[in-house]
């Protein structure tokens, strides 16, 4: 009943009835085409500069970045980072094949559990789906292989991302998402997080403090798997 009331009031305001079929078709075509609007020029750069912009923006937003030449170097970089931050060498990890394939045994002191995060997890390791250079933003779609809680419950989140997955603008990341994770006529993943730096708040005296409710530290391990991206 409320539905008809609301729609009726809107139509009265617009001085028309329900949309005529030809106009509704045009709107459905717009939805199907979902056209892009203006994309800022800042991310339209040669590959190496695009990656540098991504890294620079991450750091501007208080994330830290480690670039590694190959995937095999990831466990070592993670172990060293945890040691340097005085954190325990154990973490909850996304059950993603790319993370599972890493040579974790090369660092026998590291212990890991796969699955969603629990409140007691101090450190989580997440699989980065895509990076967006425009603002140093990570795209992290939730799902069984990339649980959302890994982005929220720990004090320290480490995101492992391949450089070949860094794009310039948000639109390009959503194009990847649509092409790879949305079946034809299907739905978006239940949860898609765009994360730009660690959690923060300026609610106390308009002064920025890191680590409000989400992770206090965000560390990105960037694997240079894209030869075109190497300057």
């Amino acid at each position: 009943m409320s539905k008809e009331q609301i729609l009726g009031a809107i139509r009265r305001g617009l001085r028309r009835g329900p949309l005529p079929e030809d106009q509704a078709m045009a709107l459905r075509a717009r939805l199907a085409a979902h056209p892009r609007h203006l994309i800022p020029a800042r991310s339209r750069l040669p590959r190496p500069d695009q990656i540098l912009l991504f890294v620079r923006n991450l750091e501007k937003e208080f994330a830290t970045v480690a670039r590694v030449p190959e995937a095999d170097a990831v466990p070592g970089v993670v172990a060293d980072y945890l040691a340097a931050q005085n954190l325990p060498p154990s973490f909850a990890m996304a059950p993603h094949p790319e993370l599972q394939a890493l040579p974790w045994d090369s660092r026998p002191l590291l212990t890991r559990r796969e699955g969603r995060a629990e409140a007691s997890d101090q450190v989580t390791v997440q699989h980065g789906y895509a990076g967006i250079a425009e603002t140093g933003t990570l795209m992290l779609p939730g799902g069984p292989r990339r649980p959302t809680t890994l982005n929220l419950l720990s004090e320290t989140e480490i995101v492992v991302l391949r450089a070949s997955r860094v794009v310039g603008a948000y639109e390009e990341a959503f194009d990847l998402l649509r092409a790879e994770l949305v079946p034809a006529g299907g739905m978006l993943p239940r949860n898609v997080m765009l994360v730009t730096g660690p959690s923060r708040s300026a609610d106390i005296e308009s002064t920025l403090e890191l680590g409000a409710h989400g992770p206090r530290r965000l560390h990105v391990v960037l694997i240079d798997d894209d030869s075109a991206a190497l300057a």
Partner: protein, 475 residues
């Protein structure tokens, strides 16, 4: 929420005498504009994006019925539920019903202005359900039983000593003699306290910055991550959103997101921008089992097709508050209802009636700063003027103002008399003020001269000077 908008003048006087508030305003006043200006300077396309944003919202409003139905169909396709609510009563009842069905005892909440509009907390408490605000600013306001004073920085009016006092008073299980060395200690105490609440909650309630018709998705934007914990951990997620939050596609949303954070906090992008589509899928390992959207009208559809329709483009960034000389002097509580500042002075009369809030559209110098920074290019001063006209038409204007306007109108309709009278007035004032060059007191204008001096006229009226210079120009 009970409106104290009719008492705006007393509220404002009280606010200007409030030392704590004035300290907070002095701290915040320069910050927001400087940060926004820096973010805008860093994006050369910002002006073009404003025009694009305006067009996206105008297109959506022109077809709002279509996009709302599309949004609702897609939410349902994803396994969610949509509750169409014409009034605040409908929405309160729908939220309560979902909470009761879920057997909820505690409910965590992300920041939502709609929730303030509905008074959800009071309604849940009256039915033995405990709501917990989790945005840091909203949390302390809940402890202090105060409404927010700003739409994105709800507790900016508090100082550190207020935070410490409230936490000591409320967190009585902690040692009374603990020391807060720095702001971080306050933050850490809240983080620890609220983490327990997140884990225990049965239902999570968030607002929505956007509702995407194409995908049936609700979008929230936060910096703390509290909204994400609220919508991820409990078994049930309720989204509170008003009908004008609708946007057609992901691409449209992205264009608006490029404007939102820059206009609001001066960030290029907020820390967490999260797209939620329906409840947990079969193979998901986290996320809510139920997903509900409360679609609230509460007076908005009545703005369609009126001179106030453009207000429905608002994306709640607060740039107009942050740049308003009136807001920056009296703070948010003075406005007496949910939405303060210029956007509130236009929206509040539409939602609660101009009879309750006629003073708000008058609380403006019409300097035009709000419109110049609005990412949606909403003509705020023009709409405040429309409200003033409606106030006058409906005889809500005080008798003294009406008689003053009547006197002015009598002269204004008789140009020769008007010019004669102003010439005589200027000449007299010029003569009287020649010595000091200013007036610190004037009969009948005590209220005006109380806060500032009137420079003495030089003896010539604007008309006279204009005519003189026109003649000189032609000669």
């Amino acid at each position: 929420m009970l409106a104290t908008s009719p008492a705006f003048k007393q509220n404002a006087a009280h606010a200007m005498a409030d030392a704590g508030l004035q300290k907070a305003l002095a701290r915040t006043r320069p910050q927001f504009p400087a940060k926004r200006a820096a973010a805008v300077a860093n994006l050369p396309e910002f002006e073009q994006l404003r025009e694009i944003g305006k067009q996206i919202k105008n297109h959506t409003l022109t077809n709002l019925d279509f996009y709302l139905e599309t949004f609702a169909a897609n939410v349902e396709r994803a396994g969610g539920h949509v509750h169409w609510c014409s009034t605040a009563d409908d929405a309160r009842a729908a939220v309560l019903n979902i909470c009761q069905q879920a057997g909820a005892r505690t409910v965590t909440k992300g920041k939502s202005m709609i929730s303030e509009e509905l008074g959800i907390n009071q309604h849940l408490e009256a039915h033995d359900i405990t709501p917990v605000e989790t945005d840091l600013g909203e949390y302390i306001l809940q402890l202090r039983d105060e409404p927010p004073s700003h739409i994105i920085a709800p507790a900016f009016h508090l100082n550190r000593e207020d935070w410490e006092a409230s936490f000591r008073k409320s967190h009585t299980d902690l040692p009374a003699d603990r020391v807060f060395h720095e702001r971080r200690d306050i933050l850490t105490e809240a983080r620890t306290r609220l983490r327990e609440k997140f884990l225990a909650a049965d239902v999570g309630i968030t607002g929505a910055n956007f509702l995407i018709a194409e995908t049936g998705t609700s979008v929230i934007v936060t910096n703390e991550g509290n909204g994400d914990l609220t919508q991820t951990l409990p078994r049930v997620h309720i989204v509170l959103a008003s009908i004008e939050k609708t946007v057609p596609t992901l691409e449209d949303t992205i264009s608006l997101l490029r404007l939102l954070a820059r206009s609001a906090t001066g960030q290029d992008f907020s820390v967490y921008t999260t797209f939620s589509t329906g409840p947990r899928r079969a193979d998901d390992v986290d996320g809510p089992a139920e997903y509900h959207v409360i679609l609230l009208d509460n007076g908005r559809s009545a703005m369609m097709g009126t001179e106030f329709q453009d207000m429905l483009r608002c994306i709640r960034c607060a740039a107009c508050l942050n740049h308003c000389p009136v807001y920056s002097t009296v703070g948010g509580h003075s406005y007496g209802w949910v939405y303060p500042g210029p956007m509130g002075s236009v929206l509040t009369p539409a939602l609660i009636g101009v009879d309750q809030s006629a003073l708000l559209p008058n609380a403006s110098t019409f300097c035009g700063k709000c419109e110049s920074v609005c990412p949606m290019k909403i003509p705020l001063p023009g709409m405040m003027r429309h409200w003033r006209e409606k106030e006058f038409e409906r005889h809500l204007t005080p008798a003294t103002v009406r008689s003053g306007l009547a006197v002015w109108a009598w002269f204004a309709r008789r140009p020769a008399v008007y010019r004669l009278a102003t010439r005589a007035g200027m000449w007299t004032l010029g003569l009287l003020g020649r010595k000091k060059g200013k007036f610190t007191k004037l009969p009948l204008a005590g209220g005006w001269t109380e806060g500032r001096d009137l420079p003495a006229p030089e003896g010539e009226t604007f008309f006279a000077r204009y005519a003189r210079e026109q003649r000189a120009g032609r000669a």
